[in-house]
Symmetry: C2
Subunit: 340 residues, 2 copies
């Protein structure tokens, strides 16, 4: 079976994608071709806490799309759905490390946790100040230690990135990153599976009237196979899961992320957003702002994810602070670099 994708040789897609990103946005990122690592094109003079993240590819725009002013300093890209290697992560840490230290943002997958923490230890052994947080926001899994890291990772990039840009210390940046993790949850549903280029077949099979509820971002099966239901029915059960787990209270201010899973068209994303928004407002929560688009995806999977972050004044301010990356641009008084 020929796998129809806009790629060339399976196995080359990560490198070629990163090349495309760097060709399109040379003023924002540069590619380290030895390691498939992406760094800011412009390094801020002086010392700020550097933010490093990454993971398997196939979740675009995560993570290279979040490198830039106000967010990440480095993103390291593994093969599709495969953790980056320890030397690769170590190279990223070393490249962007400053006297203020490095905060690593890790999604809670065993391979990622193992490799990122091993690389952190290597860096510490070389005298680099390193700390990390682990994002485990996927509410579809009951046991907290087993929860996967998904969309809230991007909000950690944004909020901790703004704090780092303002010159906060490493413990302060870590504190606010952990606050985002503690107050954020995500859940996803798949209408179709996705297929890893090198494998050449879907990660699972779904009947024409079936959906996969609580889907992971690697196309791993969700927690429950269900019959197809409408956008508003899905919105309700997905929001309920998050609200229960976060113990949200009437009147709480929230930030809403409603996204496709990679292959979901904008028409469906906006219908789904409407249904999620109407439902959260009917429950008495105040929507401070929203992102609608593609943020933490699963190749060409069709479906949706909902993430909610409970806000306070500190998180609101950092969320709205200026950022300039490929995927997230918060408009404000941005001191743009002049790249020559």
């Amino acid at each position: 079976m020929v796998l129809k994708k806009l790629i060339n040789k399976p196995g080359d897609e990560v490198r070629e994608m990163l090349e495309g990103m760097a060709m399109a946005f040379p003023e924002i990122i540069r590619l380290d071709p030895q390691w498939n690592n992406v760094y800011r094109a412009y390094k801020k003079p002086g010392s700020k806490v550097a933010l490093v993240s990454g993971g398997g590819s196939g979740h675009e725009p995560a993570h290279a799309g979040y490198v830039g002013y106000g967010m990440l300093d480095a993103a390291t890209a593994g093969a599709v759905f495969t953790s980056p290697t320890v030397p690769q992560i170590f190279a990223a840490i070393k490249e962007v490390a400053t006297d203020a230290g490095v905060l690593i943002i890790i999604k809670n997958y065993s391979g990622d946790v193992m490799n990122f923490t091993a690389a952190a230890k290597m860096a510490q052994a070389q005298g680099i100040k390193v700390d990390y947080v682990i994002v485990n926001d996927d509410v579809s899994i009951a046991e907290k230690s087993k929860r996967r890291g998904t969309t809230i990772t991007v909000l950690v990039h944004k909020i901790a990135g703004a704090a780092a840009e303002e010159g906060w210390t490493l413990p302060e940046v870590k504190r606010v990153a952990q606050k985002v993790i503690d107050n954020g949850r995500d859940i996803g549903v798949a209408l179709t599976p996705c297929s890893v280029p090198a494998a050449g077949k879907p990660t699972f099979e779904l009947g024409p009237d079936e959906i996969e509820f609580g889907i992971g971002i690697h196309g791993e099966p969700g927690v429950q196979r269900m019959k197809y239901m409408t956008s508003s029915e899905l919105a309700k059960i997905m929001v309920d899961k998050i609200v229960d787990d976060l113990k949200l209270q009437k009147g709480d201010e929230i930030f809403l992320v409603v996204q496709g899973t990679g292959g979901t068209p904008y028409m469906e994303k906006f219908v789904f957003y409407r249904d999620v928004r109407k439902y959260v407002e009917s429950l008495g929560f105040k929507v401070f702002g929203s992102w609608i688009g593609e943020f933490m995806t699963s190749l060409e999977m069709q479906g949706g994810r909902v993430a909610i972050l409970r806000l306070d004044e500190e998180l609101k301010r950092l969320l709205m602070a200026p950022a300039y990356t490929i995927a997230i641009r918060t408009i404000g008084p941005i001191p743009l670099p002049v790249v020559t």
Copy 2:
């Protein structure tokens, strides 16, 4: 067969999508619920040429995503792949008309041309100054009068929108809109078909190793059924088609739009962008800038489109002028409205 989409009742998807857009971006657009028309939330004081566009839905973010500062004043949304009605278009023209006049941007489909020009005549009969341009950029069809309107429409919105914002007269805005049409071409390829919600089945069938070359944006069959080929092979034959037709010369400066067709993940869009960019540069053209994303889509179709606009100094300046819409935000000194 159940059609798995994030929608509710088939037939309600356009209204609900527009509601979602208006709920998410109340500072940019407002929805006229009587007509499924979208207007700027903030009407500029004084008189500028008003830009009106629209067409069938299913091409999101076209066209409601392009309403806002520096682009459209009104977008009118028909049912999926169906032209808006004459009274609906007339309502949009009437709502945004100014003493400076109205320029209507029409994609070259018989239904759109018929209904938009009929509405223009109704408006003229009421003393409104109206003119229009017809976009026919789809180079896959040899006969120019039969060429469909696709991606270049969005560049007309951007460039004519910037001219209108600067206070140009109606004939001047029309002149620059026509210049974009004369210098822009687009071509698309489908790896998978798409399905209209109310129909409940794909618009055509494609074998597992087949692609549809020269696909229209309504899922109408393309000009040629081909065997699957790689991204770089596709990039070459698509760019060649445009280059030949535009008679591009070595050294010409161009703007590049590389997009998915609605269901194409970012990984593939960036690989495809890389291949298109490498190839146009190998031919000796200078890439002034690019858009990569989703601009004129076909529901959940997987595939890609390439558009090229030949630039001169006037087009370059207007392309980079500030804009603030849902889908296109050119960062610059934007006089943002204060919506209370």
